[in-house]
Amino acid sequence: MSELFVVGLSWRTAKVAVREKLAFREDEITDTLNALIRELPVSEALLISTCNRVEVYGVAKRDADVPASVRTWLAQRKSAKLAELNDALYERRGPAAIRHVFAVASSLDSLVVGEAQILGQLKDAYALSGTAGTSGPVLSRAVERAFGVAKRVRTETTIARGAANVSSVAVELAGRVFGDLAGKSVLVVGAGKMSSLAARHLYTNGAQRIIVTNRSPEKAERLADEIEGTAAPWADLEKLLAGADVVISSTGAREPVLTRAMFKRVAKARKYKPMMIIDIAVPRDAEPQIQDIDGVYLFDIDDLDKVVAANLAERAKAAEHAGRIVEHEAGQFEHWLRTQGVVPTIRALRDKFAQIADAEVHKALDQLARKELTRDQYREQLQRVVQLVINKLLHQPTTVLRSSEKEQGELRAGVLADLFALEISDHPAEELAEHPAGDDTTERKAQA
């Protein structure tokens, strides 16, 4: 029976020095998948390669140790020594592979639990396997179900809630104060890299404009160009503060450049409209006493780290619930997968039975159309048709059963008894004589 498997490595098992040895560029993936299908007993395949993981998902054609062959094949493909990769590579088969893909899609296996990027990356990988023509019914079903599980996890748990990096925390805190950032203005004080990242993040989340001010006007201009903002002179700092809703400060000054006295005037000029200061400079740019002013919210780098830690703790809690969802969904998928092996047989059986029944019903209808029958004759005719159908259905199995060797016959009889929930009589010969099912003479008589 074909089996789903995964072979790969991730941030959990391999350092970047190892991960990069096995990384695939996007333009390599289609060829790699085709080669994999061609060279190994694999019927379906998908390859995902991100900065944190490289994994091959596949369906093995037979019971051979395909995952082991995939390990060797991957090492050869990337001209790497298998010995160097072996410790980092992991493999999962069957139910464990299903659980793994569901967990990966739900970002339970990500470096930052709950991040949304992995789902997009998995979707891209799935699209590439579609382009390569290597995604078949089992893999498609598994991956599409994994997308569904990921959606369920995000909806039913708080796993994606709360920012997990400093820039996102700035946006989250601004949301707590202002709600919608639309129409808000951001002032970047200093030209540090971190402040530009945070400002850009606020801008992409709806902030209306960014103004950059720095002691060195050239640096301010350069940063303003980078983040689509406007540069303003350092001398206007207080005036600029009065017009800003969010201030991100990251100068290299040894003494605070944002003082309490300054902010008392600024708050008054703003008629105490709320404003938020994010001070990511070390040493700090803002005097801590600014925090006491009504409507002014000051956060330094330690505060932002605290929010990140609190959010990650919250996500870890949610991950337990998410794990239970993954487990449940994986169980359901396994059940579906198990039933797939018998589906063709069930379908063929139903088709054959329907064919026999249809043929007999048509024959009977033709005969009935030619005669005028009483109600009793009609009932008798109907019983004959049913008997005929039964006989035809049982003819083949009865013949096979009778012609079987003793041991095989008993085995087949057992299966039949099990499938049809039969109560086996102690006197089979007598029973058969009374109900000669499968005996063609009845059929011939009925047709005559």
């Binding site: 949301g175 202002f178 609190a310 809690k317």
Partner: protein
């Protein structure tokens, strides 16, 4: 005018009591991190409001006017508070507000229905009814503004003190700016209503020849003064945020004191 009216509590009243209790517990659970309880909590708030409204209607059919007495007005006030909360909840996540509002509405409803009827004034004219109706509506709106102000103060404190692991912070409720703005708008709406109620109350009292220097009248004037100060100071000096929230709570506390004094006076006759 009719004399004291005593009507047995309707089944809807008991449904409302149970729904208020359940909603309070569920909202507390939501605040404690059980997010899945939120739809049930909202459903119970809706049930409480419907049952509460049915109870008021049922009493009306029995001849009890919702503003026929301070005791009845308390039940009506609770209804306005719940309705306002539900309306505001459609726009903002107000779990913390619900944890405050639901028990307050429940207590007001219980006071309105289960306290002794006491001596009721028999001279309740149309003017008196209008005064009580408007005063109830005004105080109801102030109550909502106060609930929002209370949430503002809790959230502001959490942010200022960097308490990022508190239930209030984790609940990700309405943003501070929105809470402040909404509370201000409510005061803007409630203030003229309360002013008219106050003027009508003064005329009514004067007609009855009662002494205007009673403590409840004085407190009503204080309530008016506090909210008037709040509106003027915001307009001129830009008072908002913590200062405005504190003033709103102080104004509402004075209004609540008026109601309590009225109620006690009626009960003890």
């Amino acid at each position: 005018m009719t004399g004291p009216v005593s009507v047995a509590a309707s089944p809807a009243f008991w449904v409302a009591v149970v729904a208020y209790c359940t909603a309070s517990v569920l909202l507390l659970a939501v605040l404690a991190g059980k997010a899945s309880a939120r739809p049930a909590a909202v459903a119970f708030v809706v049930i409480a409001m419907i049952a509460h409204g049915t109870d008021i209607g049922w009493r009306g059919v029995e001849g009890v006017h919702p503003a026929g007495s301070v005791r009845e007005a308390l039940g009506f006030l609770a209804f306005i508070i719940t309705g306002g909360y539900l309306l505001a909840s459609t726009r903002y996540r107000l779990t913390l507000g619900g944890v405050v509002v639901m028990p307050v509405s429940l207590v007001l409803l219980l006071l309105a229905r289960l306290t002794p009827v006491g001596g009721q004034r028999e001279d309740l004219s149309a003017l008196g009814r209008i005064h009580i109706s408007l005063a109830t509506l005004g105080v109801g709106i102030f109550a909502l503004a106060s609930a929002l102000s209370a949430i503002y103060l809790v959230e502001d404190r959490a942010l200022k003190r960097k308490k990022f692991d508190t239930a209030a912070f984790k609940d990700r409720g309405a943003p501070l700016e929105a809470l402040d703005r909404l509370a201000h708008r409510l005061v803007w709406v409630g203030f003229p209503i309360f002013t008219v109620a106050l003027v009508l109350g003064a005329i009514w009292t004067a007609r009855l020849g009662e002494d205007l220097a009673r403590i409840e009248y004085l407190l009503a004037a204080v309530t008016w003064l506090v909210f008037a100060t709040l509106l003027v100071a915001r307009q001129i000096y830009g008072w908002r945020g913590r200062r405005a929230a504190n003033l709103t709570l102080e104004g509402f506390a004075a209004a609540l004191a008026v109601l309590v004094i009225y109620l006690v006076r009626r009960i003890v006759g």
